[in-house]
Amino acid sequence: MNQTAGEASETLKEKQENPKIKSLKDFYKRLKKNIPALIGFYTIVFLVIVSIFGPMLTVHPYDTVNLSDRLVGPSAEYWFGTDHMGRDIFTRIIHGMSLTLMVGFFSVILGGVVGVPLGIVSGYYGGRLDNLIMRFMDVLLAFPGILLALAIVSVLGGSLQNVIIAVAIYAIPGFARIARGSTLATKKLEYVDAIKALGATDNRVIFKHIMPNVLSPLIVNATLYIATAILTAAGLSFLGMGAQPPTPEWGAMLNDGRDYMYQAGHIAFFPGVAIVVVVLAFNIFGDGLRDALDPKMKK
């Protein structure tokens, strides 16, 4: 009896793939139907590849001052022209790409790692703890994003790490709120009661049964927030509070170009375009992700 059961499950394993891989494939299938999201997805993949391998392939140094070639327009040698110090803008954008993406990813990861557990705990236990956590989140949310980030950076000092921390802190309440809302809905489902009735500890209920089921709206939020984070970080650098020269941060480059708008518009133009492309890619991808992860959209 047991042997036949064993055999049956073995033959089945050959036919059936790992459920995780299968659900990833399903997800890709649904994403493929949304053309803009797919474009966003591939743009992001392309940008990540460029940010990893690009810096090895550029010919010009990104930080050497070359005053004889300053403010040169786009040409065959300098594809995007040079800035007021004679540095190649194309090279600087390629080198700055990893910084930009890093700010986006790390601040969102940091914000999520802090915000999601806070939100889940808040929603799961409720009561006073919930009140305490969520009122604190409301305080954070009451500040306009860039102002809060500015305040944090001016306290911690202007550097890229501090920008990441500042942007992450601002991301916390968003994650906490979404996590709390989904937790409230999930904890009322009967399977949570069933696992409690079996004697599961709160830890098990939270990490094995609530966390995986509240994740999809959080992933969407994370993707969309990467765009906001990049924009905020660029804004801080533009204001001189973020990356310090000669770091090729796009916001800082935009600021460099500000004084030469009339003589050499390309200095501000290309970093600006780069920011737009990255932010747009994440936003479009995030929107598509929302549709693809929504089980109601399943056809």
Binding site: S9, D193, A194, A197, L198, N213
Partner: protein, 345 residues
């Protein structure tokens, strides 16, 4: 009954506070279960019936401490369940399991059946690790599913199949008592019968005790040994199946039973129509809670709360909570209002 008492409920109360005002004071309570006392003997099936909102499910959840009861005692196999600390309670849960109403919500959508069952065994540590795979196949077969289906996700099963998985999960820890919270209400009638027969079979094989919460009287008649009728958080009548169905004493039970459809279009049945809705459990009526709808209500019913009691002609532990059990039975006490003949459209 000379069997062993398995579960004793004494004066169980479950109030849900209604918070209001600026400071979140408790303004009032929803008295979902108000002073309920009963005993379940080992190996029997006790059904709790009543219309929605009468506190059936809340009673079940309170026994398992899924919601912490406000007051009362729950004694399981000699242990005071409500006095246990968290750790001992977790161990205790091995003996008391629950099957839920909604087969679509009662399984984690991201776990395969195998993961669900193995986790249950893992929590209570009932089966040695290496034997768990075999135990899963065994459980699947017991509930009438194919062992190879264990690696599928809940959404790949039908409602009836999922309910079987829920049953397998409850059985995986070898419980003594299973609370079936409307366990078959969401299923097709044909599937209901299958699942009910399955439950009966397990009862015989494993000496299980069921607390069966239901609103379908046909199902109740099929499966129960004894029946508890609840109305608005209180027990109005309790007794073995025969006495309740053949010889109901409480006017509410009579009305409830008269609502069972008879599969014969020519047969005339006397249907008792109650007027109005169930009153709110926030401010339940004084005295007998049924007096607002009872055709036999008098001044006494408004003022005095009737206790569960029996008359000498009632046997088998049959009790009802009404001031006029004997008088109504003998026809001495006539309906004080004409609600029974009003047909609602």
């Amino acid at each position: 009954m000379s069997q062993k008492e398995l579960l004793k409920i004494n004066n169980l109360k479950q109030y849900f506070p209604i918070k209001g005002g600026v400071f979140g004071r408790t303004v009032n309570n929803v008295k979902a279960v108000d002073d309920v006392t009963f005993t379940i003997y080992e190996g029997e099936t006790v059904s709790v019936v009543g219309e929605s909102g009468c506190g059936k499910s809340t009673t079940g959840r309170a026994i398992l401490r899924l919601d912490e009861p406000t007051a009362g005692e729950v004694e399981f196999d000699g242990t005071n369940v409500l006095g246990l600390n968290k750790k001992d309670m977790r161990k205790m849960r091995k003996d008391m399991q629950i099957i839920f109403q909604d087969p679509y919500a009662s399984l984690n959508p991201r776990q395969t059946v195998r993961q669900t069952l193995v986790e249950a065994m893992d929590i209570q540590n009932v089966v040695p690790k290496k034997d768990r795979a075999n135990r899963v196949s065994e459980l699947m077969e017991t509930v009438g599913l194919q062992p190879h289906q264990a690696d599928r996700f809940p959404h790949e099963f039908s409602g009836g199949q999922r309910q079987r998985i829920g049953i397998a999960r409850a059985l995986s820890v070898d419980p003594k008592l299973i609370i079936c919270d409307e366990a078959v209400s969401a299923l097709d009638v044909s599937i209901q019968a299958q699942v009910l027969n399955l439950l009966k079979k397990f009862q015989d094989e494993m000496n299980l005790t069921y607390l069966f919460i239901a609103h379908d009287l046909g199902v109740v008649r099929h499966i129960s040994d004894r029946i508890i009728v609840m109305y608005l958080g209180k027990i109005v009548e309790i007794g073995d199946k025969k006495s309740i169905f053949n010889n109901p004493q409480h006017p509410y039970t009579k009305a409830l039973l008269s609502a069972i459809p008879v599969p014969d279009p020519d047969k005339k049945t006397e249907r008792i129509f109650l007027q109005g809705d169930v009153p709110s459990p926030i401010d339940p009526p004084s005295g007998c809670r049924f007096h607002t709808r009872c055709p036999f209500a008098t001044e006494k019913c408004v003022e005095e709360t009737p206790e569960l009691r029996d008359e000498d002609y009632m046997d088998g532990g049959h009790q009802a909570a009404c001031h006029y059990i004997r008088e109504i039975e003998s026809g001495e006490h006539k309906p004080t209002r004409d609600t029974s003949k009003v047909r609602q459209v």
